[in-house]
């Protein structure tokens, strides 16, 4: 049956999660009433620092944790009323390696298909496809413990995709992976999203969310403090910080001439330029050029989303 495109891929209403405490430690409110709707086909990120509640949220949706209260619907199906139907829509890529390291790669993927009700024979073509897509096919008969860290991460993704989920949940998918692998995984996830899979990830890499996602929710201390498109969040920035690399060292006499401009010297050949919201950079670059400073490169001081994130979390 074709899915109704008007039904959200994920709908969360007033979700709360309290971890029970002990005599010495009081309980923790990991989620304090989170509400959220993610349409089908979205590429969505939960951003937040460690302990913000991201993993608790993903775990509840995936069936790995029990909520305290609230509602969760996956493709319109309540996880309370029909957990098995709701879970059939989901593929989960957890933060930690949670496969049997002594098992062969192909068996890890095919067993996963079995748990979703697909026989080994039926699952084999899809298993071959995802393992080839993730460059693991050659390793299919090796025990998972023989794989490198990056391969193990890709195996988690392959396993999550073998039953062709409509919603892919990824919990910190690129935590601890090198830059090359991270870029490769981003490309793979972009293609997957373009093919129609809704992707929801948690990350504390702001660059990752900025590069991949259309919408993000910033979560802190169990609450969503901001939600919107990446563009909306970026335009909410009150200022932007640029780093300007110069060809020659910037002299003190140059800095005297730049007095009154929002420019700070970082090192011999780097200047920091702070622009207010909607302030054009032309005047500043013109001034730099007029005093003989040759600009080699202009870059953001960090992730622009990081600046939004920091300002929001600090406000909180």
């Amino acid at each position: 049956m074709a899915p109704d495109p008007t039904v959200p891929a994920l709908e969360i209403v007033n979700l709360k999660k309290k971890y029970a405490g002990t005599k010495k430690n009081p309980g923790t409110d990991a989620l304090k009433g989170v509400s959220l709707t993610v349409p089908q086909g979205e590429f969505f990120a939960f951003l937040g620092p460690n302990g913000a509640g991201k993993t608790s949220l993903i775990s509840i949706v995936a069936g790995l944790a029990v909520k305290s209260s609230g509602e969760v619907r996956v493709h319109g199906i309540s996880i309370d009323e029909h957990a098995d139907h709701a879970k059939a829509f989901i593929g989960l890529v957890p933060q930690e390696m949670n496969f049997n390291i002594f098992e062969k790669v192909i068996n890890i993927v095919l067993d996963q298909a079995g748990y979703y009700g697909i026989s080994r024979a039926e699952a084999m073509p899809q298993a071959e496809k995802v393992l080839k897509d993730l460059s693991l096919w050659e390793k299919r008969n090796e025990a998972a413990q023989a794989l490198s860290g990056g391969m193990k991460r890709r195996l988690l993704i392959a396993r999550a995709l073998v039953h062709k989920p409509r919603v892919l949940l990824l919990d910190e998918p690129t935590a601890g992976v090198d830059v090359e692998l991270r870029r490769g995984m981003w490309d793979f996830l972009r293609e997957l999203n373009e093919s129609g899979t809704t992707i929801i990830l948690t990350t504390h890499y702001l660059e990752e969310a900025e590069q991949l996602c259309r919408r993000v929710a910033i979560i802190n201390q169990g609450e969503i403090i901001k939600e919107g498109t990446v563009k909306e969040l970026l335009t909410s920035l009150s200022s932007v910080t640029l780093l300007v690399d110069t060809k020659e060292p910037v002299l003190l006499s140059n800095m005297e001439l730049l007095r009154g401009y929002p420019i700070t010297k970082i090192d011999e050949t780097t200047l920091e330029v702070k622009l207010e919201h909607n302030q054009p950079a032309n005047d500043i670059f013109r001034k730099l050029s007029s005093i003989g400073i040759n600009i080699m490169n202009v870059r953001n001081s960090g992730s622009r989303l990081e600046e939004v994130f920091v300002s929001l979390v600090e406000k909180k």
Binding site: Y19, L92, N100, D111, G114, Y115, Y116, G117
Partner: protein, 257 residues
Amino acid sequence: MDRHPITTGYYTMVRKEFIRIVRIWAQTLLPPIITTALYFAIFGTFIGSQVAKIHGVSYIEFIVPGLVMMAIITSSYTNTVSTFYFAKWQHTIDELFASPMPDWVVIAGFVTGGVMRGVLVGILVIGVSLFFTHLLIYNMFVLIAAAVLTSVLFSCAGLVNAIFAKTFDAINIVTTFVLTPLTYLGGVFYSINQLPPIFRTLSLANPILYMVNAFRYGFLGISDVSLGLSFGVIIGLIIILLVASILLFKRGTKLKN
């Protein structure tokens, strides 16, 4: 693709566990065979030849059903408690919790694994016992029912223990300090009719007594307690442990928090 998470999921769990049990046979099947063979040799042949008949049968014939049952109990329990705790410890249990398989199917998968190992060990130990004595089967149905139901019971017990266990020690403590003493005092080596009245009465509180005697009835047609009561105790305990397992899964106690 047609999807059958209940049947295919259950089959996947059982197939995987069967392959594991057979692949590491030196850890799963061999130890109880060696231990029980030693019991047969020492208690049955060497010492048993000097012990008077019990209920009209030789001592070795009397202890064989009890020793087979002891092997079944230990193997079923150990299999479930170790596989489930290991899955919990390694977080591979998350694969199952995140899947569309209902909780009762996951429980059935683990329990079936324990039953498979218990019954396989039982068959092998019976085979070994033939080197020491000849065996008659009085009632095949009672024999199979007692073996399978006891296996189910101790697989469920292993599951509940593994749910609550926080460390590897916790799974060994129950085996060492609860299961082994109860098994040894459960009428494996003696008839409770030979005990002083107070110890006889105390023995009736030991559930393993009923399993050993039901199994012995299947072989020899003799039992210290009524067959109906034995099966009533076994089935009652299975129901209690299954309900407990389902509730623990549903609430996520020690599993999903």
